[in-house]
């Protein structure tokens, strides 16, 4: 069989995967963009072209701006905390000798749990009269989830608890790709452990850190499960992120056009964040590529 027929077979093997991505992911995304330009409420049988009317409505919608602010704050704080916590954890995972497998398995548990369980678990800990916090500190834990600022931070805490392990494992993979002789040579030359970390490990770890920042911030920006379970966006709409607002607009209010507009704004924000991190990643890589 010739190379040409091999290539033809290759194309035939790739087409189903490409078709599914096109039909079930890219197609619906374009459909969301189209839907966002319409006024569409299926229950009432209403469906007409609106142009940018949905977006104009959002621009004047305090709940939308609140959701955007909640999402941005949630993303920024949870990702920052996760990365700060992940660096020491990754170093510990890298340097423990015996028991590394057990440690890795233990660290993996929060990440592998359904987010719903993680949120229920923390709701239980923060439960106003019977939770662990209330037992350890009677009065101090009163209704954490009923107070707007505290409730949003509780959601951030759940996210940090659940996804710090993922960030740490990404950093661990980065650490494992750093040649050990480098640090050893520096130690022989009299550099302190802190100095080795700052001058050798951290710069070489930078691509892994940026990658973790990229993955985590894209994931955090689409937050839904944690808040859905913990507060359902309440009290009021004070903890509501964009995904939850879009979900309620679609399913509870039945307004598909407006819901699609909120969804598309969420998507565009994710694209913007992704491009920003990717360009940072590219800039860091270029100088290294030509030593």
């Amino acid at each position: 069989m010739s190379a040409r027929s091999e290539r033809r077979l290759g194309a035939a093997l790739v087409v189903p995967a490409g078709a599914v991505l096109a039909i079930v992911a890219l197609g619906p995304l374009l459909a969301t963009a189209w839907l966002s330009l319409r006024h569409r409420v299926p229950v009432l049988g209403e469906d007409r072209f609106l142009g940018l009317g949905n977006y104009r409505a959002l621009a004047a919608d305090a709940r939308f701006w609140g959701a955007l602010a909640n999402t941005a704050y949630f993303t920024a704080l949870s990702v920052a905390l996760e990365l700060l916590l992940a660096v020491p954890l990754a170093l510990a995972l890298h340097h423990v000798g015996r028991g590394r497998g057990a440690l890795r398995a233990a660290v993996l548990v929060p990440w592998i749990l359904p987010t719903v369980v993680a949120a229920k678990l923390w709701a239980l800990l923060l439960q106003p009269d019977l939770g662990l916090l209330a037992r350890l500190w009677p009065g101090g834990a009163a209704a954490v989830l009923a107070r707007p600022t505290l409730a949003l931070h509780a959601a951030i805490l759940v996210d940090v608890w659940k996804t710090t392990p993922f960030a740490a494992l990404l950093l661990l993979a980065g650490l494992q790709s750093i040649p050990e002789d480098l640090a050893r040579a520096a130690r022989v030359d009299g550099a302190s452990a802190l100095r080795v970390f700052r001058s050798i490990t951290l710069p070489l770890l930078r691509p892994a850190i940026l990658l973790a920042l990229l993955f985590r911030s894209l994931d955090a920006f689409r937050v839904f499960d944690v808040v859905f379970v913990l507060t359902e966006g309440g009290p009021g709409h004070t903890t509501e992120p964009l995904s939850l607002y879009a979900y309620k607009t679609l399913l509870r209010a039945g307004s598909f056009g407006l819901g699609a507009a909120i969804s598309l704004v969420t998507f565009l924000c994710v694209v913007a964040i992704g491009l920003a991190w990717l360009s940072a990643l590219g800039e860091r890589r270029r100088p290294e590529a030509s030593p």
């Binding site: 992911a25 890219l26 995304l29 839907l35 548990v109 995904s243």
Partner: protein, 267 residues
């Protein structure tokens, strides 16, 4: 950092990650009548029995097993041949497909929820388990594609050449030689896709409406909502839903870790 120092750093993390789970387990074993006490006088499995009574949770577990199994099977069936073709047959556009897959994996699920809802309703697949599998497969396809392309690229090129010289067709070489050798990588990809589908909430709560169709995350998310069940029963339900994935984490930790970091580091 010495191993001793590493453990000193690790212990607070272990406490942070595991103590909440310990509290969940303890609450689930706590007799409901004794909740006001500082600690229970004895432990009980009554709450677990109560969580399982009525069959809602058990049915949700069955639903989740069916959906997650079908998703993993479909994602692997689509991704394995494509990954083989990209890695070994030099398909034009292979890189473009990988890039497109990466872009898709970054989509917020809500961005496609409305049109998928409309399409599933038109196809009479709304509120059915098969209706959930196709969106799940497309969302986990990028991960499977990246992992398996890496797996097939890592196999020695001579393996494929030798099979061809020995008279295998390209497809035969894939099926009889490469696929068995790539089994560990395929198992890893299947495992991660399974876990993804097992944990997913947004699509499940959007596309499934009747209680009989609920998956585990939906059943749990809506569990305490009715204010009928005491929190000890909720804790028992959460514990029961946790056991399968914790077993996966413990049994397959090496595989899961290598899978979730491999794509990222090579990409």
């Amino acid at each position: 950092m010495s191993p001793r120092a590493a453990w000193t750093v690790a212990v607070p993390y272990l406490a942070f990650f595991l103590l909440p789970l310990g509290w969940l387990a303890l609450t689930s074993l706590w007799p409901d009548a004794e909740l006001a006490r500082a600690l229970p006088s004895h432990l009980t499995l009554e709450n677990h029995a109560a969580a399982l009574a009525g069959g809602g949770l058990a049915r949700a577990v069955v639903n989740s097993l069916l959906v997650s199994g079908a998703t993993a099977a479909l994602a692997l069936a689509l991704a394995a041949p494509a990954a083989f073709a990209i890695a070994r047959l030099g398909v034009r556009g292979g890189r473009a497909l990988l890039a497109a897959a990466l872009a898709v994996s970054m989509f917020p699920p809500i961005a496609t929820a409305a049109p998928l809802y409309v399409a599933l309703r038109a196809a009479r697949l709304l509120d059915t388990l098969p209706g959930l599998v196709l969106p799940y497969a497309s969302f986990s396809l990028p991960l499977a594609l990246w992992l398996l392309t890496g797996t097939f690229r890592a196999l020695p090129a001579e393996l494929y050449r030798a099979a061809r010289v020995d008279g295998c067709t390209p497809l035969g070489a894939f099926r009889r030689v490469l696929l068995p050798v790539a089994a560990p990588g395929i198992a890893t990809a299947g495992l991660l896709v399974f876990v993804f589908a097992w944990n997913e909430l947004l699509y499940a709560v959007t596309f499934l409406t009747s209680p009989a169709r609920r998956t585990v995350p939906v059943a749990l998310a809506l569990f305490g909502g009715e204010f009928r069940d005491p929190i000890v029963v909720l804790a028992a339900a959460s514990t029961l839903a946790t056991i399968p994935v914790v077993a996966v984490a413990v049994l397959f930790q090496r595989r899961v870790v290598s899978g979730l970091t491999a794509g990222a580091v090579k990409g």
